[in-house]
């Protein structure tokens, strides 16, 4: 595996910007709400710019891990502060930067316990960034949990609809996942006999027997799969999304669920490739069930946020299906889908969040004819729905196309089922759009203010990202290929 060391610690800059933002917020008096919001916007903006820079500066002809930083941390245990990004993680960094910045801007009108809210968001996002860049198992677990535990308070304090139940369920589910991941990590470290937590060192072929790899991969698959919303461990996800406030839903569905899939990739597939090959049929099965199940359950929901929550289960199933194909196209599609779904869901939740803030209802039956009173807000909503359906020229289309093509080759039956489910997804998305946006205008919603240009900025950014990568998918595919082709060629 080729390592290119960084001349400037860009990856640590990402982390330190988050920590710096956190400290800046903590030392600002709680009543200075405006200043806190500006601090949040500036620091999250910096992380977005740095992540864009990393995306552009990553040398695709060179491939391998770049921007590598390494520092001995606890030599006695073989723990090192070891960061680096490859074609798999660079898109995730970009996604995190975008969703983070737009999420902060979306909460511009938020005014309840502002200081704590933004402090927890910064803590959460620093965990997410850390998870995507680290190459050391010790830090994987640290960042994983740092990104999870602020969720409890974020949902329980600022949420809506059954928030305490949703928060507790989500936290316990996700930590049950980490209860499988930690023994897996320790098993690998203790079993290798190398006294190291370094992922790249543990990737050495022949270090673990096939039986060990199968065992550990299963632990990682279930552990991270809970976070990735793999059926049947997804039940926390719609409840949690519905209960969470807008920015948290955006970050959670947009980025946090990707950590789960990314964990399966980085830990499970990288370290235990034979386990991956063994369990791939199961992954494909569960993913297909998730796709079909999410679509059908989404069809019968009466709450807009539940619809999005279940569509997330369905869309994350596509990621799982792509990973299970064990082919370049499948991996490319899966990673692209993670990116596209992240941006799409963020847009979805941010537009629904706006509508909820104004109408104070999420029930599909009560909404209607919003296109007349809020043309701009509903446009964002419709664009998000179209992306979710997979309309060409929008980012999701390419991702889903690649996954389905490769799934057809490997698992013809699952592939057919998944495409059939897509038609159902289209049906329920369009049904929601029809009920919410069109139809007779309800006089209760007449005269409600539309999205102002300032509040439109985050949504505009998300829409432009969707369109940009929908028109030029090669921007993303070229990047992912630098990692997926070498990765698959190394497999036994």
């Amino acid at each position: 595996m080729q390592l290119t060391y960084a001349d400037f610690p860009y990856l640590s800059t990402l982390l330190l910007t988050c920590v710096g933002g956190l400290l800046a917020i903590l030392f600002t008096p709680a009543h200075r709400i405006r200043e806190i919001k500006w601090i949040s916007a500036v620091f999250s903006g910096i992380t977005m710019l740095v992540s864009i820079y990393i995306f552009l500066a990553y040398d695709k002809s060179l491939g391998g891990f770049q921007f590598v930083e390494k520092l001995e941390w606890v030599p006695m245990l073989g723990i090192s502060y070891f960061n680096g990004v490859d074609g798999f993680s660079v898109p995730m960094l970009l996604l995190t930067g975008i969703v983070f910045f737009t999420g902060v801007l979306t909460m511009w009108e938020h005014d309840y316990r502002v200081k704590e809210f933004f402090a927890l968001i910064f803590l959460l996002v620093s965990g997410v960034f850390g998870m995507f860049i680290t190459l050391d198992l010790f830090f994987v677990f640290i960042w994983f949990d740092v990104s999870l535990f602020p969720m409890y308070l974020l949902i329980a304090v600022w949420g809506s609809t059954r928030k305490e139940y949703g928060a507790m369920k989500l936290t316990l589910y996700l930590l049950a996942g980490s209860a499988l991941i930690l023994p897996g990590i320790i098993y690998l470290v203790a079993g290798s006999g190398l006294n190291t937590f370094n992922i790249l060192a543990l990737m050495e072929p022949g270090l673990f027997t096939a039986a060990q790899q199968k065992f550990v991969f299963f632990l990682f698959y279930i552990g991270f799969g809970i976070l990735a919303g793999v059926w049947p461990f997804h039940t926390w996800s719609p409840v949690g999304h519905v209960a969470a406030p807008t920015a948290v839903s955006m970050i959670h569905a947009g980025v946090l669920m990707k950590i789960g899939a990314f964990g399966i990739l980085r830990l499970g597939m990288f370290i235990c490739p034979e386990g991956w090959q063994f369990w791939a049929p199961l992954m494909a099965l569960l993913a297909t069930v998730g796709i079909v199940y999410g679509a059908f359950v989404g069809l019968s929901q009466t709450d807009v946020k539940y619809v999005i929550g279940y569509s997330s289960v369905s869309h994350m199933g596509i990621v799982g299906l792509g990973l299970a194909t064990m082919s370049v196209d499948g991996l490319n599609g899966a990673i692209f889908q993670m990116f596209a779904h992240g941006v799409m869901t963020a847009l979805f939740f941010s537009s629904v969040g706006y509508i909820y803030d104004k109408t104070h209802t999420k029930a599909i039956a009560e909404l209607g004819g919003l296109l007349k009173s809020m043309p701009v807000a509903t446009s964002y909503f419709i664009i998000a729905a179209l992306t979710g359906i997979g309309v060409p020229c929008l980012a999701s289309f390419w991702a889903e196309l690649m996954v389905f093509i490769s799934a057809f080759k490997v698992y013809p039956i699952y592939g057919t089922l998944a495409i059939a489910a897509l038609a159902v997804t289209a049906l329920f998305m369009l049904r929601v759009v029809q009920k919410v946006c069109y139809g007779p205008e309800d006089e209760r919603w007449a005269g409600l203010p539309d999205v102002s240009p300032g509040l439109g900025i985050p949504r505009m950014i998300l829409v432009s990202v969707i369109v940009l990568f929908g028109l030029f998918p090669s921007l993303m595919f070229d990047m992912i290929q630098t990692a997926s082709i070498p990765f698959l060629s190394r497999l036994p």
Binding site: W73, V74, P75, M76, L77, E116, F138, F141, I142, D145, V146, F149, Y152, L153, A156, V157, E164, M168, T171, L172, L175, A176, A179, L180, L182, P183, I186, Y187, V189, A190, G191
Partner: protein, 472 residues
């Protein structure tokens, strides 16, 4: 005889002497508090100065090495921390304040001797001295608020455990013809297949398991935690656990890892202890009782490191002793501050804490996350060390069960955090007055818990060297 080796204990003796004299003078709680604070701070410095000492005393019955000196420092640190929260001893009558400090010091001194003892007789004497001080400390609470049943229960179970332990000593002595731990170390590993030795060892260990509140000796914990003055509970939960961990490590390391039966028994005890502790904690309404059951569960985690019987396991246990000291103390600091009238508090009474004192709420949250083992806190790093050591010995199932326990425990910790952060208080609650020194202490504890959790190298090296003393 080289008195330099004995300097931390001599200082402890001097400090108890001071309070013995003060207890004869007119009661003055301010004077007692500041004297105790100053003396215990000096005590930490004395212990640190003696960290590198090595040697034997009293015809080899007393051993000074890095292992014992690290624990002595931890113990004095625990004493200092507990004294820090004694500025308002509302739970104890003012005329008894000097006695309170006297007993606290004597108890610490006894435990310092315990960690250095390598002869059955000194071990017994030191253990009893510390136990008797604690029995009285538990009784000190104002009678009108709480009855004396906690003290009686503690005393009866404690005395029984000592008797059982003494019987174990006798059996061990009969089997090995040795009373020096060092000599036993030579003989015991070869005799581990003899039932007499195994039973003797078990009965011996039960005395220490009682101190650590391991199943089936944990029944005293919730009642004593509830019935003792808050500061005393803080001491029992933090410093006294450190002493128990130390002596347990030393005794178990005697066997040289040669007894499968002992390991299996300890595995069973560890699993039952943490499961019982965590399940019982879920239904507790009183915060001190909840923390008592959480202590029981923590004892189970520590056993995992000890039963690994390797240098890595002992390192983990030593590290976890520090972690437990800090985490439990921080939790009790919040208890003491919120219960400003010296009474017990229920979990519900934490409602609105985040508004009354954001700092205390944050400290409580971090200490509870640490106890649950959530990174990036010191509790996670400690658990990682313990679990890694167990995994290296091949105890995968044990680690998995421990992790499941972690998830169970998270449920009740989250309920406490929910009370502190979410639940709206009934009626108006005044802001809590926290003095600047107390703010500094809380801030320092929070920082140390996080920093040592992320960057454990310094203390880890020390713990590792100390553990090497035991495995030769």
């Amino acid at each position: 005889m080289n008195f330099i080796l004995f300097q931390p204990e001599l200082f402890g003796l001097f400090m108890s002497g001071v309070f013995l004299c003060l207890s004869l003078a007119r009661p003055n709680s301010k004077r007692d508090f500041f004297t105790a604070l100053a003396l215990s701070a000096v005590g930490i410095a004395v212990c640190l100065a003696g960290l590198r000492l090595e040697g034997g005393l009293f015809y080899g019955a007393y051993r000074v090495d890095l292992f014992s000196q690290v624990f002595k420092t931890l113990l004095f640190m625990g004493l200092f921390l507990v004294i820090c929260i004694c500025s308002e001893l509302k739970g104890i009558a003012e005329r008894l304040h000097s006695e309170f400090y006297l007993l606290l010091t004597v108890c610490t001194l006894a435990m310092m001797m315990l960690v250095s003892s390598v002869h059955l007789l000194t071990i017994y004497v030191a253990l009893e001295l510390s136990s008797y001080s604690l029995y009285i400390l538990v009784f000190l609470r104002k009678r009108e608020d709480y009855g004396i049943d906690a003290g009686i229960k503690y005393f009866l179970i404690g005395a029984t455990a000592s008797a059982v332990m003494l019987f174990g000593f006798a059996l061990l002595y009969g089997a090995t013809q040795a009373a020096y731990v060092g000599e036993m170390l030579q003989v015991l590993p070869g005799l581990m297949d003899r039932p007499l030795v195994v039973i003797g060892l078990f009965l011996t260990l039960s005395g220490f398991l009682f101190k650590l509140a391991v199943f089936p000796f944990h029944f005293w914990a919730p009642d004593v935690y509830e019935g003792a003055p808050n500061q005393v509970t803080a001491y029992i939960a933090s410093a006294s656990k450190v002493g128990a961990i130390a002596i347990l490590i030393r005794m178990v390391s005697l066997t040289g890892g040669n007894s499968e039966f002992l390991v299996h028994a300890l595995v069973a005890l560890a699993i039952i202890t943490m499961t019982v502790g965590n399940l019982a904690a879920i239904v507790q309404k009183d915060l001190k009782r909840l923390l008592a059951y959480s202590s029981v569960a923590q004892a189970g985690y520590i056993l995992i490191g000890i039963l690994s019987m390797s240098a890595a396991g002992y390192t983990g246990a030593i590290f976890y002793a520090l972690a437990l000291l800090l985490m439990k103390f921080t939790a009790f600091l919040v208890v003491v501050k919120v219960a400003y009238d010296g009474k017990n508090i229920s979990v519900d009474q934490l409602a609105g804490l985040h508004r009354r004192s954001p700092l205390l709420a944050m400290a409580l949250m971090l200490s509870l996350f640490g106890l649950a083992g959530i990174p990036p806190t010191i509790g996670f790093t400690g658990k990682l060390l313990l679990f890694t050591a167990a995994m290296k010995q091949g105890y995968f199932t044990l680690v998995l069960i421990a992790m499941i326990n972690v998830v169970i425990s998270l449920y009740y910790y989250l309920l406490v955090i929910k009370a502190a952060y979410l639940t709206a208080p009934v009626g108006e609650q005044p802001d809590l007055e926290i003095t600047p020194p107390m703010k500094l202490l809380t801030g320092t504890l929070v920082t140390v818990m996080v920093v040592v959790g992320i960057y454990p190298t310094l203390f880890l090296d020390l713990a590792e060297k100390a553990a090497r003393m035991l495995v030769l």
